[in-house]
């Protein structure tokens, strides 16, 4: 692996509360090459905040600090807001949890994907149309011409998420951040969407940061895994070694998931005192 695509060192995100500032991300450090990295954690672990902080999407009064936050040789902390806007979407894209809230309800799907491209490249109309159709094909939508003319409420959840992916990938970014991309979808559709993301990542050779609460899912689709708890990375390992994880939190999390061949009478419950976690 040459110079990493994304290099984060000591990332901290804090928010003010009546009882003083509270850090939700407490010094996260990782490098991401052209590979698939998964961040796993439960709600409140700071995993989504980490993803947003990379795109500088944390709004005041939230405060982001990092001793290094570099993307492809650029210092993300030093970029102006205008440069950042140009970077978002064009070089780093983000797929959010629910397509319903991320798509503009009064614009056809085709036009929205076209807009995403037009924002970063100047192309003639016909070329944009061609690229949109090509992209819809790439996300395995069978009848792209028809779907391009539909409005977001006319497409199903799974198709909506594919449209989102098409929109995010059409400017050919080098890094894709997917924050719980499938948790709003049915199980059978989940696998299709993740397989699709996986194929596209492999084909284009971009980096993938997959943020999820689902350990098994991340293990299946990523090369490396970071496990976060209470704002800190507690475990970092290769995906295939996940079941040999050493940290009690990771182990506890793995054991707490019911199995298809379940024979246990009681599920083991996380003992948060085991590693001094801040359980409530």
């Amino acid at each position: 692996m040459s110079a990493p695509l994304l290099s984060i060192e000591d990332l901290r995100v804090s928010f003010p509360t009546p009882k003083g500032r509270i850090e939700v991300v407490k010094g996260v450090t990782f490098d991401l090459g052209r590979e698939r990295l998964g961040i796993v954690g439960e709600s409140g672990s700071g995993k989504s905040m980490t993803g947003r902080a990379i795109l500088r999407l944390i709004r005041p009064p939230g405060v982001v600090t990092a001793s290094r936050m570099q993307f492809d040789g650029m210092d993300l902390m030093a970029l102006s807001e205008a440069d950042m806007r140009a970077l978002r979407g064009a070089r780093i894209s983000m797929i959010m949890q629910d397509p319903k809230f991320s798509l503009n309800p009064v614009m056809t799907v085709g036009r929205q994907i076209g807009e995403a491209l037009r924002a970063h490249e100047r192309l003639p109309r016909a070329a944009i149309r061609a690229r949109v159709i090509e992209m819809l094909n790439a996300v395995r939508i069978n009848d792209p011409e028809r779907v391009a003319k539909m409005y977001p409420h006319e497409v199903s959840g799974g198709m909506g998420q594919r449209v989102m992916i098409a929109m995010m990938l059409i400017p050919k970014p080098s890094l894709l951040i997917a924050d719980e991309p499938t948790s709003a979808l049915d199980v059978s559709v989940q696998a299709q969407v993740l397989d699709l993301i996986d194929d596209l990542v492999r084909e284009t050779g971009m980096g993938l940061l997959l943020i999820s609460h689902d350990l098994n899912l991340v293990a299946r689709y990523c090369d490396r895994i970071l496990v976060m708890n209470a704002g800190e990375v507690v475990e970092s390992c290769a995906a295939r070694d996940l079941h040999a994880a050493s940290h009690p939190y990771t182990k506890g999390l793995l054991a707490a998931v019911p199995q298809m061949h379940e024979t246990r009478d009681v599920l083991p419950v996380l003992d948060r005192s085991a590693w001094g976690g801040t359980g409530t």
């Binding site: 439960e42 989940q190 609460h213 019911p258 199995q259 298809m260 009478d265 599920l267 409530t280």
Partner: protein, 244 residues
């Protein structure tokens, strides 16, 4: 006697039929799962039993009594429901205490103080949570309150609508353990709706697979160990859920 019995039940919202010709029985003390993807009508079946989806035809009976089309006071003593969203199922301006006493006030039951304290300890909540508002509780704690509320009237049948799908895995394990213990201790019958097959494997002894408003297969939950489903859709769902 069957705790819950449905015969040829069809349910509609307005002019649209969402559930068609559903028939199944849940034996007393049993734990039955309705599984399926979103839009399969599995939650609608629960709502019809509870009286929250009044447009249905066919026969529904709970503990031998035929069900009306609306919630009623007598039925409330027999059967309660736990909802999916722990953030939406508690009144935002009411303390845990008033949520729990509400049932006792409605049914004019005595000994309110003792019953509330008992219910809290039953669901594993510290007494200091008694006068908190929902926004001061975590998702798991809220779901415990919702379960305690359902237990206040000492029902024999519980309808569980995806009780853990909005929770973290570690919290899910706690709530599943809790539900399992309560069933054993109170001799409850569960009818649970979920899309999560491993949860069924842990919690239930029988299951029905639903697709597009119809039941495609009813089988023992042990089928999940082998994957020997008769229906192709069940097999497909099983495979997508990570079953080998």
């Amino acid at each position: 006697m069957n705790a819950i019995s449905l015969q040829d039940v069809s349910i509609s919202y307005g002019s649209q039929t969402v559930v068609e010709g559903v028939t199944f029985d849940v034996s007393e003390g049993g734990s039955f799962a309705l599984v399926g993807e979103s839009g399969s009508g599995k939650s609608t079946v629960l709502k019809a039993i509870a009286g929250l989806a009044p447009q249905w035809t066919g026969k529904i009976s709970v503990l031998g009594e035929p069900r009306g089309h609306r919630p009623d006071r007598e039925f409330a003593r027999q059967c309660q429901m736990v909802f999916q969203d722990p953030y939406g199922s508690l009144h935002p301006r009411k303390t845990v205490d008033s949520v729990l006493t509400e049932a006792l006030t409605i049914h004019r039951l005595p000994d309110r103080d003792r019953r509330v304290t008992e219910a809290l300890s039953d669901v594993g909540l510290d007494p200091r949570f008694r006068f908190r508002f929902p926004h001061q509780l975590s998702g798991g704690q809220r779901q415990r309150v919702a379960i305690a509320r359902a237990l206040m009237l000492e029902p024999r049948v519980m309808l569980l609508d995806e009780p853990t799908s909005a929770l973290d895995v570690s919290v899910q394990a706690e709530i599943l353990n809790l539900l399992k213990r309560l069933r054993r201790e109170h001799g409850l019958t569960y009818l649970m709706v979920t899309h999560n097959l491993p949860v069924v494997s842990f919690m239930c002894d029988r299951m029905a697979v639903m697709q597009k408003g119809r039941i495609v297969e009813i089988t023992d939950a042990t089928t999940l160990h082998s994957g020997d489903f008769a229906d192709p859709y069940s097999r497909q769902l099983y495979a997508a859920s990570g079953g080998a």
